[in-house]
Amino acid sequence: MSFIRAVLESSTSILFASFGVLIMQLAGVLNIGAEGMMLVGAFFGVLGSSLTGNAFIGTLFAIAAAGITGVLFGYCTVIKKANQVVVGIAFNILASGLTTTLYRHIFGMKSDSTKVVGYTDLGPFSLPVYLGIALIFVLSVLLYKTKYGLKIRGVGEYPMALDSFGLSVDRIRFLSIIFGSMLIGVGGAYLSLGQLSFFTEDMVTGRGYIALAAVIFGRYSPVGTFLAVLVFGTGEALVYRLQAIGSGVPTQMILMIPYLLTVIVVAFFGQKGEGPAALGVPFFKNAKE
């Protein structure tokens, strides 16, 4: 039972991030910058919580900061049509530099000064865990039963069609990026306020990329993504469990598990995950193709 609990808790952070990535990918935007956006969420969540003593206001900080990051990402990739992969990588480097600099500036070097108020449990879990699970249904309905979902998937699959219908591809993509970034920010906040109650430099350690893997493994659907995240969450929970038992296996080999698992999953289950047709391709309104 406690292991299932650990799996769900480890999964929640990646789940929010994956859903954010999913929405952006469906809209045709490849977000390599998820790692950095999570880091921004993790930092501003802790900052907000330490300023107000309330983890949920902290989460609002995280959502706002990640949303602003999304606006910048949208400016670079949608308005300026810059290479999405390179912009994403730059955002990851930028997030690492900015959060470390701000963290040292605001909290100083003392490690214990950053212990902040995290989420409190309601029943067996804290609120974000339930919200994450509820999102599976909300997103399934949003993406497949509403016109908004149709628009989002449309700009990812065949932007020309929506354009000729008089809709703004850029606008739909931009809004998808902002919404997605906010979700990714919540994922980061859950990492620093749910799984831990503090911020450490570069604490996301690959989860943003694992979220990308989860979306591919999950065949670009909310339910599939959730199941994929559970696999990765199990890997992470296994790390804690094996470390706690003291199995005699070297620590480093245990810490490697989530990354090995991701490589294996991407290799053996990634190939059929055909993404949206226009994924990663900037849309030029006047392009003749």
């Binding site: 992969v85 990588i89 730059a90 955002f91 530099g97 990329y209 480093q252 290799a267 990634g270 392009a287």
Partner: protein, 337 residues
């Protein structure tokens, strides 16, 4: 056209420094003082300049590594891991084998290249056989490499006497000879220059270089043109990884003279900025390596002498990349039909 090639990167640097100054001012430091401290730290004395050139050496290799994969349309975010694995294999040969210097040094370099190439090659195989996105697998391979090295220096190759997680010193015969007395500068910089020259020749004159570039330009066109896509992907990842491994050799044989946790402080990621700022060309990479080498050394100086952490240089680095790829002054460009 030629002017554009130089103006754009320079403008990107200026813009990055300007926005960086705003961030520095925001955290309560004087940007001019900080930049001055960085400049002094990087070029303020003969020793400082030599140290900058030592870091430039590593930057050239990681820059060439990123550029090599990028030419083929591959995104190698795994240079950090390739550097670690190259450094690990290199240090094994450098520590446990006794040979005269003239054989030992080339053998260590070969080992380092192989270490990095294997790590890049795994990514290549995963891409060719299973269509696994290299953007994800390279990052995962970074973490795996870091943990392998941490395991090794905490156990199997830990120095017999000592408490730190590090190997014993490499043989003197495996150390890169000094180039300038009383400084840290080694012949590594010459090796890096040779690598850059080979890089230039490779893209300009060889047929596989041409094939890889075609693949980078368009996968579909390359396939129609009868280019052996899978083979080219493998070559790209093997060589890119190998160059990353050589960067590891430079750190092991020229700087640290051992392998330990934290052998690289994120140099693998510096390669991305180095290559992109240099337009992925050999000459461009040489120049941008000096800049990012100086940023590294200057960053260490501000970490020591001011309240700012070295992480500030990541902000500058990211801004440089963004200003290179985002045309802030132009409105929507149209694709050439």
């Amino acid at each position: 056209m030629k002017v554009q090639k130089v103006v754009k990167p320079l403008l990107s640097i200026v813009l990055a420094l300007a926005v960086g100054a705003l961030v520095i001012a925001l955290v309560g430091e004087n940007p001019l003082e900080i930049y001055k401290a960085m400049l002094t730290g990087a070029f303020g004395s003969k020793g400082a300049t030599a140290t900058t050139l030592v870091k430039t050496t590593t930057m050239i290799f990681v820059g060439l590594s990123y550029g090599f994969a990028y030419k083929g349309g591959l995104v190698n975010i795994g240079i950090e891991g390739q550097l670690y694995m190259g450094g690990l294999l290199c240090s094994l040969v450098a520590i446990y084998i006794k040979l005269p210097s003239a054989i030992h040094i080339p053998l260590c370099l070969l080992a380092g290249f192989v270490g990095g190439a294997v790590w890049g090659g795994i990514v290549g195989i995963l891409k060719v056989k299973f269509k696994a996105s290299e953007m994800i697998t390279t990052v995962m391979m970074n973490y795996i490499a870091i943990y392998i090295v941490e395991y090794m220096v905490n156990g199997p190759i830990k120095e017999p006497k000592g408490t730190f997680p590090q190997s014993e010193k490499i043989q003197v015969t495996a150390q890169l000879p000094n180039l300038l007395p009383k400084t840290t500068l080694t012949i590594g910089i010459i090796l890096a220059l040779i690598a850059a020259v080979i890089y230039i020749i490779y893209w300009k004159y060889t047929s596989t270089g041409f094939e890889i570039k075609m693949l980078g330009a368009s996968r579909d066109v390359a396939r129609y043109a009868g280019i052996r896509v899978n083979k080219m992907v493998m070559i790209s990842m093997l060589v890119s990884g190998g160059l990353g491994g050589l960067a590891g050799c430079m750190e092991v044989m020229g700087v640290q003279h051992k392998i330990m946790e934290g052998l690289t402080a994120g140099y693998g990621f510096d390669g991305i900025a180095v290559s992109l700022l240099g337009g992925n060309s050999g000459i461009g990479i040489l120049f941008s390596s000096i800049l990012f080498g100086a940023l590294r050394v200057g960053g260490n100086a501000i970490q020591m002498f001011t309240s700012l952490p070295i992480a500030v240089i990541y902000i500058l680095q990211a801004l440089v990349i963004l200003f290179v790829v985002v045309d802030v002054f132009k409105s929507e460009r149209r694709k050439k039909a």
